[in-house]
């Protein structure tokens, strides 16, 4: 058994690594009010630059670290200049979405170049360990601690004593005022992205050495950990980020010691949700003030939605309904079925992210809840499949709303972080709650689609069922948006303060939206589970959440028809053109970036 001292040391070292990420995120948030979801990708690129240098060029450590810092900084500059600066005057959520797109693109490029297989990253340090009391400290531990402390000191000195550092702090306090006083805020942004990315890249290198392994999938985890640490310390608070990171490292380390490795991330995300609910401004912040009064809402891009006449929709639905009768194309049917299932998820998300303005990044969790509920009902209790799917919709509506309810009082980027974390918590619960979910093994032999004893498991029936359910859900959502609830949701999105002053309780109306949206997503996940016959904790993942968001933005936020068009375009087209799977995510990332930059209102317009 390892000692508590070891766990403490381990926690502090891991915390140091998190700090390198979190400090960068805090700096970036400080000057540009943006949670940079591409930060984890810079971290991965840093790790791979280090790997190439060490393994292929055999650089010594004193060269590897500056090289990684330089390359990562350069990448940060490129992201700032070409990814984010053009979005400066666009809607508030645009830069956040752009960083998600950039992250997808970068991760996928790394994956295509270096393959998804893990690589060993040798540590280049002597393998001695110093015994301290009952624990030990290795050379690498000292290096990480040293770099952590040195970065903190350098950063402090830079911010405190240099002119440029003053400019950074001035910009963080009041961007407009700084600009008016002659501070070149673009230069400040560049410097901040450079520094933050250099630190992030070094962090990737150190983590790679620490675990002697790197892979492209580390990106999202790194971003999440950094965000958790940053939120714990207070978003935008640099010293707070360091303390938050160390705290997170320790909590994880002790938690693992008590419960095991697979719980590591669960602690991080529970901590995040707890902080967001109890102290949304972080542990060290004091006052909560009303948000400034916006003259007009700036969440979604104003546009005139395209009105599609009813007969066109009817004709389109009929045309798709007779496809299986006239075409003998099983592959096409399968593809379109998949698109219909995604369209249901997109309907749910376009209501929640578009109509109510809660940009959820964890929407796939609703699929998972629906899929698992229906599969377990059918497998364990022998509930007829049709009933099980319906029940899954209801359970997802209830459970999903309950789980997300802590985020109801949050706004803007915080909602996105919270939903992302809640989504991860659901996935991790499924992984760890083995007695019910069978953990990593997953659920096998889920019975095929069946209603009233009629077998609907063949490709054509599944197609029709999915299409029928989709049309029904879309019609219901149309009706919902035309009611007083539709305008209430949109009012909350545009200005939640004014909405409350006119009697719209946020909890009540956000709950109603999640109940409706949760039902649609739950049904989608349930049908998918019976279609696939096998699901596990990775079947419904973050990539699907982001894909759903891209679909919704492509279609136009809040736009019901847009959600379906978007799903066919993004799920159907790549499949029909047989785009290889690994390029698909690249395409999604690029599409998201292009949309955010050039057509934030989407194809059909925001509603």
């Amino acid at each position: 058994m390892t000692s508590w001292l070891d766990h403490t040391i381990n926690g502090l070292i891991v915390g140091n690594v998190y700090a390198l990420i979190a400090v960068g995120l805090a700096l970036i948030f400080g000057v540009s009010r943006l949670i940079n979801f591409a930060h984890g990708s810079v971290y991965v690129v840093g790790a791979y630059v280090g790997w190439v240098a060490v393994v292929h060029v055999a650089t010594p450590l004193v060269l590897t670290i500056p090289l990684v810092a330089l390359m990562s900084a350069a990448l940060g500059l490129v992201i700032e200049r070409f990814g984010l600066r053009p979005l400066q005057n666009s809607v508030r959520i645009a830069p956040l979405l752009a960083t998600i797109g950039i992250s997808f693109v970068l991760d996928q490029i790394v994956l295509l170049v270096f393959t998804p297989n893990p690589r060993a990253l040798p540590s280049q340090l002597p393998d001695w360990r110093l015994t301290v009391g009952s624990g030990t400290i290795g050379a690498l531990d000292l290096l990480i601690a040293g770099i952590g402390v040195a970065s903190a000191v350098l950063l402090f000195g830079f911010l405190r004593f240099t002119r440029l550092g003053w400019a950074v702090r001035a910009t963080a306090q009041d961007r407009d005022a700084a600009q008016q006083m002659g501070v070149d805020v673009h230069a400040v942004n560049q410097v901040v992205f450079g520094i933050a990315s250099a630190l992030g890249g070094i962090s990737g290198l150190l983590v790679g050495m620490y675990y002697n392994q790197i892979d492209p999938a580390m990106s999202l985890q790194a971003t999440l950990k950094g965000v958790v640490a940053e939120v714990v310390g207070g978003v935008g608070n640099v010293p707070g980020a360091v303390v938050g990171s160390l705290l997170l490292g320790l909590i994880e380390s002790y938690g693992i010691a008590m419960l095991g490795t697979s719980y590591r991330n669960l602690f991080a995300f529970l901590l995040l949700v707890l902080i967001l609910v109890l102290r949304p401004n972080g542990l060290f912040a004091s006052a909560r003030q009303l948000p400034p009064e916006p003259l007009t809402g700036t969440f979604i891009a104003p546009s005139r939605p395209l009105r599609v006449p009813g007969w066109v929709l009817l004709a389109a639905a009929t045309a798709f309904a007779i496809v299986p009768l006239v075409l003998d194309a099983p592959y096409l049917l399968q593809t379109l079925t998949n698109a219909w299932l995604f369209a249901m998820l997109a309907l749910s998300l376009t209501l929640i992210a578009g109509s109510v303005g809660q940009v959820s990044l964890g929407h796939a969790a609703l699929l998972a809840i629906g899929g698992y509920t229906s599969a377990l009902l059918a497998l364990t209790w022998g509930v007829p499949v049709g009933m099980a799917i319906l029940a899954a919709g209801v359970v997802t509506a209830a459970l999903g709303t309950l789980l997300v309810s802590p985020s109801f009082r949050l706004r803007g980027h915080y909602v996105s972080i919270a939903t992302l974390a809640i989504g991860e918590i659901v996935a991790l619960t499924i992984l760890n709650w083995e007695s019910v979910t069978r953990g990593p093994i997953g659920l096998v032999g889920i019975p095929p689609l069946q209603v009233f004893g009629i077998d609907l498991g063949d490709a054509r029936s599944v197609y029709w069922v999915s299409l029928g359910v989709l049309v029904l859900l879309a019609a219901l959502q149309f009706r919902l948006l035309g009611s007083h609830l539709g305008r209430s949701f949109r009012a909350i999105r545009d200005d939640d303060v004014a909405a409350r002053v006119y009697g719209l309780g946020l909890d009540r109306y956000k709950s109603l939206a999640f109940i409706f949206g949760g039902f649609a997503a739950g049904i989608s996940g349930a049908i998918a589970a019976h279609l696939y016959s096998y699901i596990n904790h990775e079947t419904f993942n973050t990539q699907q959440s982001i894909l759903a968001l891209t679909i919704v933005i492509l279609g136009g936020l809040g736009n019901v028809v847009g959600a379906i068009v978007g799903a066919v375009a993004l799920v159907g087209l790549p499949e029909i053109f047989r785009v290889a799977a690994e390029y698909r995510i690249l395409i999604y990332g690029v599409v998201l970036l292009l949309l955010v930059r050039f057509r934030p209102q989407g194809l059909m317009g925001t509603v």
Binding site: Q289, L295, T296, H484, R490, A498, R500, Y502, L504, L512
Partner: protein, 276 residues
């Protein structure tokens, strides 16, 4: 008989700054009371405390005899208290019609049955199903919105289906007032309704407020344009640095030396000291 709105010792501190400092204020039924004072005197914070957007550190607010201190804004709205905002908070992507309909939200009855626990679910079901009673209620409210908008002449009616973001600044302020009227308030709080308006628009707004007052509506008004304040108010309250420094009929307040000092004196004192 107690006043419609009663504030007692209302206090709000932000860190070291006391934005609202022990304010006592009564507003009687049918009265128009104006609050004036230099920028940063705490007027808007006072409105936030009354409407439940902010909670006081001390003191109490009572509306129609019942305490509402610390109540949520949505509950206070349901009691019949409506407000506008200093810089304007319209729902940008909603049409003028929908903006004003939101104002009537607390009056929806058919679609929002007062049933404990399952009330919200019933509301969702009724919104989807829309039985005749719900349809009739919605139609009646829409007709009423047109009536309210017709108070603004041809300013808003022709733009009834346009999104609020496409309106001029003055029209957005008008939408805000229309939205407040749709609540059928017992007390209307207007936060600088003429801010940023030109003289013609200001005169129109003044006429509208006078008309509302004549119709018997109780109004608490924050306004910088003293001309308008003097013409409309039954009573004027002057705030400075969070405190009430004067209260009374417009003419009396206007000549109060403390008021003159509050408006002119700040910032002159250090200059005068430096000159000595």
């Amino acid at each position: 008989m107690s006043a419609l709105l009663e504030l007692r010792g209302l206090t709000r501190r932000f860190g070291g700054l006391t934005a609202v400092d022990g304010i006592d204020l009564d507003v009687e039924d049918g009265e128009l009371v104006s609050i004036i004072g230099p920028n940063g005197a705490g007027k808007t914070t006072l409105f936030n405390l009354v409407t439940g957007l902010d909670a006081p550190n001390a003191g109490s607010v009572a509306f129609a005899g019942a305490p509402i201190t610390g109540m949520t804004p949505e509950r206070i709205a349901a009691l019949g208290l409506a407000r506008t905002f200093q810089l304007g908070r319209v729902f940008a992507n909603l049409s003028v019609m929908d903006n004003v309909l939101i104002g009537a939200h607390t009056r929806l009855a058919a679609v929002r049955p007062k049933v404990p626990l399952v009330g919200p679910l019933l509301e969702l079901a009724l919104a989807l199903w829309r039985p005749p009673a719900v349809k009739a209620e919605e139609a009646a409210l829409r007709a009423e919105v047109r009536d309210i908008l017709s108070r603004f002449g041809e300013r808003l009616l022709p733009r009834i289906d346009q999104p609020a973001y496409s309106l001029s600044y003055a029209n957005r302020r008008r939408v805000e007032i229309a939205r407040a009227l749709a609540l059928k308030p017992r007390l209307l709080l207007l936060d600088e309704p003429t801010a940023g308006m030109n003289p013609t628009e200001t005169a129109e707004m003044q006429a509208l407020v006078a008309e509302l007052k004549a119709s018997g509506l109780t109004i608490l008004l924050i306004e910088h344009k003293l001309d308008m304040v003097m013409r409309l108010s039954d009573r004027v309250v002057v705030m400075d640095e969070g405190r009430k420094i004067a209260e009374g009929p417009g003419a009396a307040v206007r000549s109060d030396p403390k008021v003159i000092e509050a408006y002119l004196g700040h910032g002159l004192r250090p200059v005068a000291a430096a000159a000595e």
